[in-house]
Structure formats: structure tokens, C-alpha cells
């Protein structure tokens, strides 16, 4: 820069160049750390996503329950369906007496 430079009347804060150099170096270090994290994330983002999705599928698979119904084998209706035999009135009466009526009748003490 030549000697006419001061004609422009620009001033700077005291110790500006010393401080700005440190500021630049510090901002670069921060920037570099951030970009390292970004790089790591960009490299591993797909494996991480795949692992996450895989674990979700595995979790659901392990906890997957097929709905099963347990039938009352003593029920004459069920029995008749399974055995393909006709249901008799006697069987029905016996069943209801044993399983339903007893539960509904309150015997006074």
C-alpha cells in the first residue's frame, strides 16, 4: 500500500489485525469441527437410518402375536361344529345348566 492510503480516512480499532487474525483462525477451527461432524453424519446417515429401520422391524417381528381364539371345547355348539355331529336338546340344557344358570342364580345364605 502506498503513502496516499491515509487520504481515504479509514480507521480501524486498536490491535485490530492481531485480534482479527485470531478471530479468523478460531472461526476456521469451529467451522472445521462442524464440517467434521457433518462429514461423519453424511457418511454414516444411511447405515444409521438402516439400523434404526431394521431394529424397528425386528422389534415388531419379535412382539408380533397371531391372534388365537380358544374355544370352549365343552360347549355343545362348538363341539357339534368340530365333530360335525347334531346337537341334542339334552346336551344344550346340560351345558347351560352347568355354565350359565349356576353363575346367575344367587343362592341366599
Amino acid at each position: 500500500m502506498n503513502q496516499h492510503y491515509n487520504k481515504l480516512g479509514f480507521k480501524i480499532p486498536q490491535n485490530y489485525f492481531k485480534e482479527s487474525k485470531d478471530q479468523i483462525i478460531n472461526s476456521l477451527n469451529t467451522n472445521e469441527k462442524n464440517s467434521t461432524i457433518k462429514n461423519i453424519l453424511s457418511i454414516y446417515k444411511y447405515p444409521i437410518a438402516a439400523l434404526f429401520i431394521g431394529s424397528l422391524i425386528l422389534y415388531n417381528f419379535l412382539n408380533f402375536k397371531t391372534e388365537s381364539y380358544e374355544y370352549d371345547q365343552n360347549s355343545p355348539i362348538i363341539y357339534s361344529i368340530i365333530s360335525e355331529e347334531d346337537i341334542s336338546e339334552e346336551d344344550l340344557l346340560e351345558y347351560f345348566t352347568n355354565n350359565l344358570a349356576i353363575n346367575e342364580i344367587k343362592i341366599p345364605k
Partner: protein, 181 residues
């Protein structure tokens, strides 16, 4: 330190930080003044300076050594200034061939501007120039860059640059002579 040795440090991952420390020490002051003349206020110049060195740090591997390292640095700084001025004026592209209507306002708003009579006269003349004329004049007159370097920085034909510079020099001489009469 020679440019070749500095580049060797910069391009090796193990010594890049050390090399960059040296590079900032060598060039940041001159880069600052170049930026300051374009953006005018100290705070803006400080922001542009930081962005410039972040770009340099990220792009050093792409430096093809087709020009001097300093020329490459000033070119990045110049482009960063243009980007800053475009953002400031909320335009997509800065109009280099028109003059800055806010020149004086920016200058007086800056607490780091010493308004002496001679600098005021100088700035008055500079404010009447187009951005392109002003940049070329500043780079040649104050930063003492060669025409060939200015050509690489601004991506303009060297003869166009020479003709702009000499015409601006003539205008400034005439204005100063008239004011001192």
C-alpha cells in the same frame, strides 16, 4: 516464506492448519484494506474478511497455481465483496457500471471513518465513479496491484482495465487541481 513452500504446507492435511496460520498472517491485512475500500464500513469489511478466509481454507485444494497465491486470494475477496454488496442492496447481481447512491451514507455511518477535508474530497470524487471504475482505481492506486493481476481478479480484459484506470486517474487529477486552485 516462499509461495511454493507455503502451498506445500497448505496442501498437506497434516500441516494445513500451520500453513493457514502463516497465510492469514501474510495476507489478511492487505485483504482487509482491499475489502474495506469496496464495502466501506469496518464492520462489513470484518465480516467479509472472515467469509473470505473460510472460502480460502475450504478451497485451497482447488487452487490450480495458474496465478500467484495472492492474486487468487484477492480474487476470492473481490467476489466475496460483490456477493456482500448484492446482498446489501437486495439485488441478485451488483451493477458494476452504476455508482453507489449510498456511498456517502455508508461512509459517515461508520464510526471508523476520519472525515478530514482531503479524504472527503477524495471520497466525493470516488463516489461519483461507477463501482467498476472505483474498484480498478483502488486496486491499482492504493493496493499497487499490477494490471495483469487486476485482470485476473476482476476477470476483465487487461486493456479495458488500463483504459478505465487512466481515464479515472485523469478525472481525479482534474478534480483535485480544480479544488486546490
Amino acid at each position: 516464506m516462499k509461495e511454493g513452500a507455503l502451498l506445500k504446507l497448505l496442501k498437506s492435511p497434516n500441516s494445513k492448519n500451520k500453513g493457514f496460520n502463516l497465510l492469514v498472517g501474510l495476507y489478511h491485512e492487505k485483504t482487509y484494506w482491499m475489502i474495506r475500500k469496496m464495502v466501506l464500513s469496518h464492520d462489513s469489511a470484518n465480516d467479509v474478511l472472515q467469509n473470505t478466509y473460510i472460502r480460502i481454507f475450504k478451497g485451497i485444494e482447488n487452487f490450480k497455481e495458474k496465478s500467484k497465491l495472492s492474486t487468487w486470494i484477492y480474487r476470492i475477496a473481490y467476489n466475496e465483496c460483490i456477493r456482500f454488496l448484492a446482498n446489501e442492496s437486495k439485488l441478485k447481481k451488483v451493477e458494476l457500471d452504476s455508482n453507489d447512491d449510498n456511498y456517502s451514507r455508508k461512509l459517515y455511518a461508520d464510526e471508523y471513518f476520519d472525515a478530514e477535508s482531503l479524504s472527503l474530497k477524495f471520497h466525493q470524487i470516488l463516489s461519483e465513479l461507477t463501482l467498476r471504475q472505483r474498484n480498478i482505481f483502488n486496486m491499482k492506486y492504493f493496493d499497487e496491484l499490477k494490471f495483469s493481476e487486476i485482470s485476473k481478479i476482476t476477470d476483465m480484459n487487461i486493456n479495458t482495465i488500463k483504459s478505465i484506470y487512466y481515464s479515472v486517474e485523469k478525472i481525479i487529477k482534474k478534480e483535485i487541481d480544480e479544488s486546490t486552485l
